[in-house]
Symmetry: C2
Subunit: 224 residues, 2 copies
């Protein structure tokens, strides 16, 4: 097939275009986390990147295209920085704990200027119907489903009390993480991450079976 015969110059051009697009989107996620997706105009981004507006239009035809591509980029970063490292842990309670803990470490590390991209984007777009809002809602549902599935797997592995409602626990853990992000963004209160961590760990320890407890770190202030 002709598509397999790619000329080296064309291949290099394509790779360069993809690197450029990726670096634009990284800047876009950072801007949007702090100033909102609505603040992310092609003009604003062009000035941040030292590019012409027409150069940016070659990558993104409209503001909505740019917003949607930025949301996908933020999802890629989240998968790379939180989901994949957590999935290195064994399926069950260890993985559930890692999903929560790595998320907190990641946001605490200030990877984006405005904290958690999706917390900011959800608050901004929840009252603005359209494809951007729908995509943000879908991605946050994936996250809640990932948390919930990890709870179910921990129960199936006999590590977590089966009486615990997985949807309820996923709701609570997500809320505690949003609450920590909120306190950090508003007050620069880094202790909020430790508060969310303590609250999540306390629940997991309380509901863990004897065999499950060995997958969790020792709680602060509790006898070893």
């Amino acid at each position: 097939m002709s598509s397999e015969v790619v000329r080296p110059a064309a291949k290099a051009r394509k790779a360069h275009g993809e690197r450029k697009r990726r670096s634009i989107l990284e800047a876009a996620v950072d801007i949007a986390s702090a100033e909102g997706l609505e603040g992310l105009t092609i003009g604003r981004l062009a000035s941040e990147m030292g590019m012409s507006k027409s150069g940016l239009f070659a990558h993104f035809g409209s503001k909505e295209d740019l917003q949607l591509a930025t949301v996908e980029e933020a999802r890629n970063v989240f998968i790379r920085e939180v989901i994949r490292p957590a999935f290195l842990a064994e399926q069950g309670l260890a993985r559930l704990w890692k999903l929560c803990d790595i998320w907190l470490v990641y946001v605490r590390g200030g990877v984006f200027r405005g904290g958690c991209f999706f917390a900011a984007a959800a608050a901004e777009f929840d009252s603005r119907p359209g494809p951007v809002r729908d995509r943000i809602a879908e991605i946050m549902k994936e996250w809640l489903a990932t948390l919930r599935r990890a709870v179910v797997e921990a129960q199936e592995a006999g590590q977590l009390d089966r009486k615990v409602d997985p949807t309820q626990l996923a709701f609570e853990f997500n809320a505690l993480e949003l609450g920590a992000n909120w306190a950090f963004q508003l007050y620069g209160d880094r202790k909020a991450f430790a508060r969310a961590r303590d609250a999540i760990l306390e629940r997991l320890c309380r509901h863990a079976t004897k065999s499950g407890a060995t997958s969790l770190p020792v709680q602060k202030g509790k006898p070893k």
Copy 2:
């Protein structure tokens, strides 16, 4: 003193002006809860109220004046709808529970189009330094301090375990409420309010002393 001798016409004019200002601010809080405080331009508000822009300028000299007045109005509504009714309950565990429960009922009732005004405003302004951000942060601190004080009072009344950290509990309850507001705004998920309610009530019941437990409603699914 001359200021005590107010002519009836001037008095009526002043009262009319205050009513008008109040009705403008009520519309402003509603718009800002859904479209953000940055979306709250004098032009947008004038069109919503069927007023001229110059008429609105008579009430608010600048966009920032309008934003600050809108934040104060939202605070007044919150005090009227949540704090005062909760303070009718007896000091201690009953009041702590009412603060949480009335907040959830209030946001679930859809008092503003965009849900909790302060959750939206905090997410929007947390990365925008200035007087609007500072005032939002101050008001949210009042709320956290009110929750915290209610925990301490419940402990002093011998109704709640003194080993509970009041700041931690206030953080968790606020996070659960923000989480419910978030799920409702993004998914129209009214069940989220019941989830937050269950989580808060479960914690209070677990930490209540025998005398404190009588101040709390019976937990769903638990024997009476």
